[in-house]
């Protein structure tokens, strides 16, 4: 069972007209694994991540979550039902948080569980408190997003995603929009999730974070996976010249 991939990306391809942004990418992520995707901007790493919950649908290939194909071709109505069901199981965290500014922190977290899982107000409140406690922001439960710092917003966004009890979490440059001194608090939350064996796929520019937290690192460039392996291999001893160049620029070495 442990050998079976949890997330299975098979020959993923995506193109906008003649522009190919993903070229035949395959990736298997096992339960509890933490995979980092690094690469220059425009390399397709965010597109790949966003394809996993079909925000950016692929034009070729398949993506599976356990025994369920995510990017199925279905009549519109059935597809909507299917994809909403899939997305409830996949948490996603965005660069710009995407918190709902007209709702309090509590409401941001309880909205989806209440609407989609039909839980009671009491259960929803308990859930919000649990998840906020997990990211260390319980005392901000009745604040509005505008009253929070960037780091706090992102932690709330993580709590909001976790409240759906997802099987896997996707992070799309979760710390890229943050002031440098706020990055650490978000990284700490992500590290904590890693220690709890949450399956995670992380698109990041934080090489240090990727190296310390992830089990595997993929280096993407121009729509292909150029190199992948354990972090110590990719960061200390990359084989491919493109990887070497990229890391030299990013690590300043």
């Amino acid at each position: 069972m442990t050998d079976k991939p949890f997330i299975d990306i098979r020959h993923a391809a995506k193109s906008y007209g003649s522009l190919e942004v993903l070229k035949d990418i395959s990736l298997q992520v096992k339960k509890g694994q933490i995979v980092a995707i690094i690469g220059p901007s425009g390399s397709g790493k965010s597109t790949l991540l966003r394809a996993i919950n079909d925000l950016d649908p692929l034009t070729g290939g398949e993506i599976w979550l356990e025994d369920m194909q995510i990017n199925k071709t279905l009549p519109h109505r059935q597809y909507e039902k299917h994809i909403n069901h899939v997305r409830q199981q996949i948490g996603m965290v965005f660069q710009h948080f995407n918190l709902f500014p007209h709702l309090t922190v509590r409401e941001n977290i309880t909205l989806a569980p209440k609407m989609l899982k039909g839980i009671s107000d009491d259960e929803a409140n308990t859930l919000a408190e649990e998840q906020l406690d997990r990211v260390g922001l319980l005392e901000r439960i009745d604040y509005y997003p505008s009253q929070l710092s960037g780091g706090q917003k992102q932690r709330v966004a993580i709590a909001r995603a976790l409240a759906m009890k997802p099987k896997v979490m996707l992070f799309d440059e979760a710390t890229s929009a943050l002031d440098p001194e706020l990055v650490e608090e978000v990284n700490l939350v992500m590290k904590k999730l890693a220690e709890e064996h949450m399956t995670m796929i992380i698109v990041t520019h934080e090489m240090g974070f990727a190296e310390s937290v992830c089990d595997r690192v993929l280096f993407m460039d121009q729509g292909v996976v150029v190199e992948e392996g354990a972090p110590e291999v990719i960061f200390k001893n990359p084989k491919n010249e493109r990887t070497q160049n990229f890391l030299r620029k990013h690590l300043g070495g």
Partner: protein, 218 residues
């Protein structure tokens, strides 16, 4: 013949009653135009073409023809096809739909101005498109467009005078009735103007309060 305002107090009761009708018709039409505006905006942006186009045609009709004519059509015209509406109801429908079309334009731009990330944030949690529009997009859009919609509501209050022509005894018609008995148009039209002004002040206060209470700081 000079001005003689001493005739006015004798008709204050009637004017006051007329003012109440003006308030009633304005508020009813405002509510209809607000929710109708949201409905029309959602249809214009999200409904399939087969639904969208008939509604667009309707919107054109309401925008491109005089409100007065629309009131005539609804009150006098519909009777011929068996729809006999009380004047008040016909007035509310006419004013409400007319301003719903204007509100819809504003709300559409408000919806389009909501950040795409909001939609994505909601969809990734598993909310359906409809749930996202209802719970996330429209509430934010409505908040940002409250000020321009408020301006429409003030225009609506003033245009409510038009329903006097289909026999709703609101403020304008009340003053005309008083004039027909006293032959003192200047005094009574001024009195009516004063009433409108006071109602307008009240409406503005309410609107400002609504604006403040729904404001979202980003």
């Amino acid at each position: 013949m000079g001005l003689d305002f001493t005739v006015v107090p004798g008709y204050l009761d009637a004017l006051f009653l007329g003012a109440l009708w003006t308030v009633a018709i304005t508020l009813s039409a405002a509510v209809l135009s607000f929710f109708g505006g949201i409905g029309l905006a959602v249809i214009a942006l999200y409904a399939p073409a087969i639904v969208r186009y008939p509604f667009r045609l309707l919107a054109w009709l309401f925008m491109g023809t005089p409100l007065l004519l629309q009131l005539f059509l609804i009150y006098f015209g519909l009777i011929q096809i068996g729809v006999d509406l009380p004047a008040f109801v016909a007035g509310v429908i006419g004013l409400g739909l007319h301003f719903a079309v204007y509100n819809s334009d504003i709300i559409q731009s408000g919806i389009l101005a909501v950040d795409k990330g909001q939609h994505e944030g909601a969809r990734t949690l598993g909310l359906s498109n409809g749930q996202t529009i209802r719970k996330i997009v429209v509430p934010q859009a409505v908040r940002t467009v409250i000020p321009p919609i408020g301006n429409n509501m003030i225009a609506l209050l003033k245009d409510s005078a038009l329903v006097s022509v289909i026999g709703v005894t609101e403020l304008t018609l009340s003053s005309q009735l008083a004039i027909s008995k006293t032959f003192r148009p200047f005094e009574f039209y001024l009195a009516a103007a004063a009433f409108y002004y006071v109602i307008n002040l009240g409406l503005e206060t309410v609107l400002r309060r609504i604006e403040r209470s729904v404001q979202i700081s980003r």
